[in-house]
Amino acid sequence: MSRKTLKENIELESRVIVIPGQKINQKARRIDENLFIENGEIYAERIGLLNVENNKVEIVPLKGKYLPKEGDVVLGVIKDIMPMTWVVDINSPYTALLPFSKTTSTRNESEKIITEKMFKVGDLIAAKVEIFKYGINPILTTLGAGLGKKRGGRLVVINPTKIPRVIGRKGSMISLIMKKTNCEVTVGKNGFILVNCNDANKELIVYEALKKIERESHIKGLTDRINTFLEEKMK
């Protein structure tokens, strides 16, 4: 690390790592939630990569917890069964709730039987965050295509801030992994990833690739490195 980058008052380039409290010498119209303004100057709030694009300054965080956002598709593990509601661990500071009414539109059996039969403690589900407001537990729904109980496979947990890199630009990274290994990979926005292969060794390779992405996501040329990594391993 050269001394120059440590100086605060140099012109910051794009893709530079910033730390909390660091002054950003940029004039921008819009800033994202990881920056704040004090006395007309922009300061970083979190550790991350600085990204400057026409009039917008943003920080791509390197670490952090998952905060639910309405509309996110997440993977969760059933933790507890309450009357008419499941308690779901979604790898977040807030435990999610999945009410019975958000799981099915049919009502044949008695509701009590269904809540016990449908999902058991330990089941993995894909769900969508339907409601999340400041300070209340997020409400999930499994009504929708591809949502609901997931069977088989290996659950990989990575830092949720790295999920955009796992998906890649327009899904390039995830389709690369799926094409090279012939595995089915389901990505939850909360950092839970379900890898489903017919071969345990392949699952391990995908696991290693995902961990590599988590570790090296801030270094340039990630897609190429993952490509060579997968090609080497799949031989």
């Binding site: 730390i19 979190r46 670490k63 500071p93």
Partner: protein, 246 residues
């Protein structure tokens, strides 16, 4: 810092300065002990840091924000910060009785209060952020080293912060104002003034004093301590950037 550490030195030194004007440790008046910082040393913690400040060795681990238990501890508008300062049984020359005692409970509190102003706790209502500080080896000035390392661990965990927190102690030994007291100077000196600041705006988040100083001496000690904090802040920045070196 108090009687619990008094067994660290067998006998009281006659003078705290050598004949050539330097301190017993060979340092000048305003010279800090060598400081080493490393960020991200623990795999399972959300954020972690290790600091070696002279002979002090301290590990800090941050977990959170996470769900709070018991539930009634939750604050509806913001996250709760919990700090636990603990000295290992082998951290002093005579075995320390393990577990929290009067001193470590107080230090946990002052460290918590020194860190809170830098954090944006209102972004995570009803949750808790746990900071565990484990002192592996101590040589005086563990509270300032702990604060410095804890703010690094908090930043490493990806929590939003307005600034880092940097701390250093000033003091008075044998009638002279010095910086960064070690255990002998702390025990047999005349005054001890640990401070913590947020370096960007020079806001003081912790100030304690033990002993006596004149107002002029206090002003000098404070000024020197704030100057030293800037120096430590640069080290903190370097340690954080080192973690994600490209």
């Amino acid at each position: 810092m108090n009687e619990e550490m008094s067994y660290m030195l067998e006998k009281k030194p006659e003078k705290l300065f050598r004949d050539d004007g330097k301190r017993l440790s060979g340092r000048d008046l305003f010279e800090l002990r060598p400081i080493k910082m490393k960020v991200g040393i623990l795999e399972n913690a959300d954020g972690s840091a290790f600091i070696e400040w002279g002979k002090n060795k301290i590990i800090v681990a941050v977990y959170g924000p996470r769900e709070i238990h018991p539930k009634h501890m939750a604050i509806p508008t913001q996250a709760r910060l919990r700090c636990r300062y603990n000295m290992a049984a082998f951290s002093t020359s005579e075995r320390k009785k393990p577990g929290p005692d009067r001193r470590s409970i107080e230090l946990s509190k002052v460290i918590r209060e020194a860190l809170v102003p830098a954090l944006l706790l209102e972004k995570f209502p009803k949750t808790v952020i746990d900071v565990f500080i484990e002192v592996l080896e101590s040589e005086g000035g563990t509270r300032v080293a702990s604060i410095t390392a804890a703010s690094l661990a908090l930043a490493d965990s990806g929590l939003p912060m307005k600034d880092l927190v940097t701390a250093v102690a000033a003091g008075k030994i044998d009638g002279k104002i010095v910086l960064d007291l070690d255990s002998a100077e702390d025990m047999y000196g005349e005054a001890d003034l640990p401070i913590a600041i947020m370096p960007r705006r020079k806001e003081i988040t912790l100030i304690q004093m033990d002993g006596k100083m004149t107002p002029q001496e206090l002003r000098l000690a404070l000024g020197k301590a704030i100057e030293a904090c800037q120096q430590i802040y640069e080290m903190q920045k370097r340690a954080l950037l080192e973690r994600y070196k490209i």
